[in-house]
């Protein structure tokens, strides 16, 4: 314990060296920018930053990339809340409650919750990461493909709690998303599917194109239909720009803690990361939270759950990287690359051999989260003012960002056209009361779920009971199935009680 604290103190000392601190701030700002831009994902941002670290010393390099990773899980919430355009896939669950709050004139309040969630989730995970790295690393090893599949299945099932009014419409939307996700060369056997001999389709349809199109462009089309005169937002100024009160925070401590734990565990699991953590946490909150009935109508819980989990996943993902040499997420995989390029092999030996580097990385997570929140705090006020701009102008900028994002995804013009098509699809969905989120959820999680399903089947001789008999995947699958059955049961009970009331009415 004392050893840890001494090492951590040395780490902090490193982070506050002028050059290193400069790198940290640059990393934070780059991460915020990458997160705000739809189409440029966090992982892609870290990949783009990697070459700049070649010529640096190892410590500033690692600090820069870690800082980017930390702040990249945060700023995408801004665009979700203000414009209903998720900056990162992990910000999709923030749309319901975040944007709903903004429509109610509580944009600043929603942003305040985001900031607090990122701060809380990030710091809790960072503390766990420092104190318990060795013991919890073993959790990562107990997860295999059946567990990955169970987690993803739960994520997909959570669509029910998010579907809004019609379960049937939500499921149609989800399966349409899953269908889109199958386009391209299949991951396991390399078979081309729905490619129609078109080369670009064999590359698959990027989920970014669907996400940015259906949300960003779809929303612009909706507003266009109404002549950019949608119900005016309640005066922004009437709500004070404020952070939530301590009392309000304490009332939601369960949500904070639950979401942090989910974030850390999902972060630990290789191949999942912030997006899965965010979806899963929202789903759990919608199912087991105190105010699950109100989820989606603009309550803070709907912001806390995904944001806390997303930022908490950072600490989780760093643990297997430094203890086992196995990255817990896409971004940590790139950081692993940076380690390797500087001739360091992460693994159990790094704690002994290069503890100063590991602890600088740990310290940069702490400092990074705080710097990020300070920047976020001061950015909040000018951001909210954007809502006072005429809708036409904001829509024009949203559209430009969407087009840029679609092109940036793969540097391919076809993606821009695909994005426009999905913009129209998103508009039609909205118009005919089909929820868009299940569609996007299917496109993002579908391929991950498919490959872990296939691998499990191959690994366990096509025995599907494997998902239900394993100690970790079993309960998760059970929870997922309950999630799916719950609305049906609720519906039946409702009918039953209605009938009883009716019967009673006749009796008297």
């Amino acid at each position: 314990m004392e050893g840890i604290l001494t090492n951590l103190a040395v780490g902090f000392g490193q982070v506050f060296q002028p050059v290193n601190f400069l790198m940290l701030v640059i990393g934070i700002i780059l991460g915020l920018l990458v997160a705000v831009l739809p189409g440029l994902t966090l992982v892609m941002g870290v990949v783009l930053a990697l070459p700049f670290t070649y010529s640096m010393d190892v410590i500033p390099a690692i600090i820069l990339l870690t800082a980017m990773y930390v702040s990249g899980t945060y700023a995408g919430a801004w665009t979700s809340i203000l414009f209903r355009v998720p900056g990162e896939p992990m910000d999709v669950p923030l749309l319901w409650d975040g944007y709903a709050m903004a429509r109610k004139g509580q944009a600043a309040y929603a942003l305040g919750w985001t900031l607090l969630s990122a701060l809380f989730g990030g710091l809790v995970a960072a503390t766990v990461m420092v104190l318990l790295a060795q013991p919890i690393a073993r959790i990562a090893l107990t997860f295999s493909t059946p567990e990955y599949f169970a987690i993803l299945f739960f994520g997909l099932a959570s669509v029910v709690s998010l579907g809004g009014s019609s379960l049937a419409n939500a499921l149609i939307s989800l399966f349409f998303g899953l269908l889109i996700a199958t386009v391209g060369v299949d991951d396991t056997y390399g078979a081309p599917r729905f490619t129609f001999g078109v080369q670009i389709l064999s590359d698959g349809i990027d989920y970014l194109v669907v996400m940015v199109g259906a949300y960003g462009l779809g929303e612009v089309f909706m507003r266009l239909e109404q002549g950019f005169k949608s119900a005016p937002l309640e005066a922004v100024d009437s709500i004070r720009t404020r952070l939530p009160q301590l009392r309000e925070v304490l009332a939601r401590k369960g949500t904070f803690l639950r979401s942090s734990v989910i974030g850390i565990i999902i972060g630990l699991v290789p191949g999942a990361g912030a997006t899965v953590a965010s979806f899963l946490s929202y789903g759990v909150e919608g199912q087991y939270g105190k105010r699950w009935r109100e989820m989606g109508n603009g309550i803070p819980e709907g912001i806390i759950a995904p944001q806390t989990a997303a930022t908490a996943s950072v600490g989780g993902a760093i643990v297997p990287l430094v203890t086992l040499g196995i990255p817990g997420s896409g971004a940590t995989a790139i950081i692993l690359g940076a380690f390797l390029l500087h001739g360091l092999q992460p693994g159990p030996q790094v704690f002994a051999a290069s503890s100063n580097i590991v602890y600088s990385m740990f310290a940069s997570v702490f400092v990074g989260i705080i710097v990020m929140c300070v920047i976020g705090y001061f950015a909040m006020k000018p951001m909210v003012r954007v809502l006072e701009f005429p809708e036409v102008i904001v829509s024009a900028y949203v559209m430009m960002l969407c087009l840029l994002g679609a092109f940036a995804a793969r540097n391919n013009v076809t993606d821009v056209w695909l994005m426009v098509i999905f913009g129209i699809v998103g508009y039609l969905f909205e118009r005919f009361k089909f929820p868009i989120t299940p569609l996007v959820l299917g496109v993002i999680l579908g391929p991950l779920a498919e490959s872990s399903f296939m691998t499990t089947m191959i690994s366990y001789g096509n025995d599907w009971t494997e998902f239900f008999t394993r100690p970790i995947s079993g309960p998760i699958m059970a929870a997922a199935i309950l999630t799916l059955l719950f609305p049906a049961i609720r519906h039946l009970r409702h009918e039953y009680s209605q009938r009883r009331i009716a019967a009673k009415g006749r009796g008297t």
Binding site: G184, V185, A333
Partner: protein
């Protein structure tokens, strides 16, 4: 970079973009390379292909004077990334790592690309492969593995079906061992599978799991090479055990067929310089690779054909 420089630079970029857009005929005569070259890695970050690209890219940048952003496009045993390169124009601004595993897919007729679709610029690294067990596995030696695989099926973590990894599994199936290939395209999932006991064996190149070897988490039980490795004196080669199967894990840099030969040469020359550098030699050593790994463009096609014939020899007869 001051303000005027910045303006100039952005002007240059703008002009380059315009040129690129207006006419491909014009770009053919323009100086190559004049803008960043996309360096595709058809595998996830952290694996051997990724390490090669990230090692080579900065060294190539010194020669070519443009940046080479490395992009990971994983999936379908490297075909997703290869498709990305093949769908880009043949202008030399998109190059890709091409490895033995992807070549092995050519044995199947279903692929939508042919070896003729690509032009190798150089073979950069050749590494021997091995079967590994977790350090705490009850299987300690190849003998243990053989005995166990006759009793129950053992799971082998491989990159994908049809890969060189898979061919080794098929080869040993032919020798009466019950081994099942379980594909994990992401290296991190493959390594978790063996360390967490979800798979019994791992097929991998020695250099790719060096950190696990140094950290005493995994060890090789058989190495598929001509001679024993000094670092693993006690581990038998496949040959000693009577299994002469040796499929090199090679990693090449490839371009699209139809690219101007001058441009292929520019990349090839840059790679020759990379291969000759001390830094790259140290990297080969670090990766437990053959120190004479490098094969220039002229010999690369023949080498790949030879490797392909070897693979075909061990592939299941249909």
């Amino acid at each position: 970079m001051n303000c005027t420089e910045l303006k100039q630079r952005s002007l240059q970029v703008g002009v380059a973009l315009l040129l690129g857009l207006t006419s491909l005929a014009v770009t053919a005569q323009e100086k190559y390379p004049s803008r960043p070259i996309e360096f595709i890695v058809p595998w996830g970050p952290g694996g051997g292909a990724d390490q090669l690209a990230r090692k080579a890219a900065p060294l190539m940048e010194k020669e070519l004077k443009v940046s080479l952003p490395v992009i990971n496009v994983a999936g379908a045993t490297g075909q997703t990334g290869l498709n990305k390169m093949l769908t880009s124009p043949a202008d030399g601004y998109s190059i890709s790592i091409f490895i033995a595993d992807t070549l092995a897919l050519q044995m199947e007729s279903g692929t939508n690309w042919k070896l003729d679709d690509i032009v190798p610029a150089a073979i950069m690294i050749r590494q021997p492969s091995a079967f590994f067990v977790a350090e705490n596995s009850p299987l300690k030696t190849w003998k243990d593995v053989e005995a166990e695989a006759k009793k129950r099926p053992l799971k082998v973590g491989v990159t994908g079906f049809g890969s060189a990894d898979d061919l080794h599994v098929i080869y040993f199936n032919g020798k009466g061992l019950k081994l099942i290939s379980v594909p994990f395209p992401k290296p991190s999932e493959r390594y978790i599978a063996i360390l967490g006991g979800h798979a019994d064996l791992l097929y991998e190149q020695l250099g790719d799991v060096r950190s696990f070897l140094d950290g005493k988490q995994m060890r090789p039980v058989v190495i598929f090479a001509d001679q024993r490795f000094p670092a693993f004196k006690d581990v038998p080669t496949g040959k000693e055990l009577g299994h002469s199967i040796i499929i090199n894990q090679f990693r090449a840099v490839a371009m699209k067929r139809g690219t101007d030969p001058q441009r292929v040469k520019a990349i090839s020359d840059a790679l020759a310089k990379v291969a000759a550098s001390e830094e790259f030699k140290a990297y080969l050593k670090d990766q437990y690779a053959d120190e004479n790994s490098y094969i220039p463009a002229s010999g690369a096609v023949d080498f790949m054909k030879h490797e392909f014939d070897t693979m075909k020899k061990y592939a299941p007869k249909k």
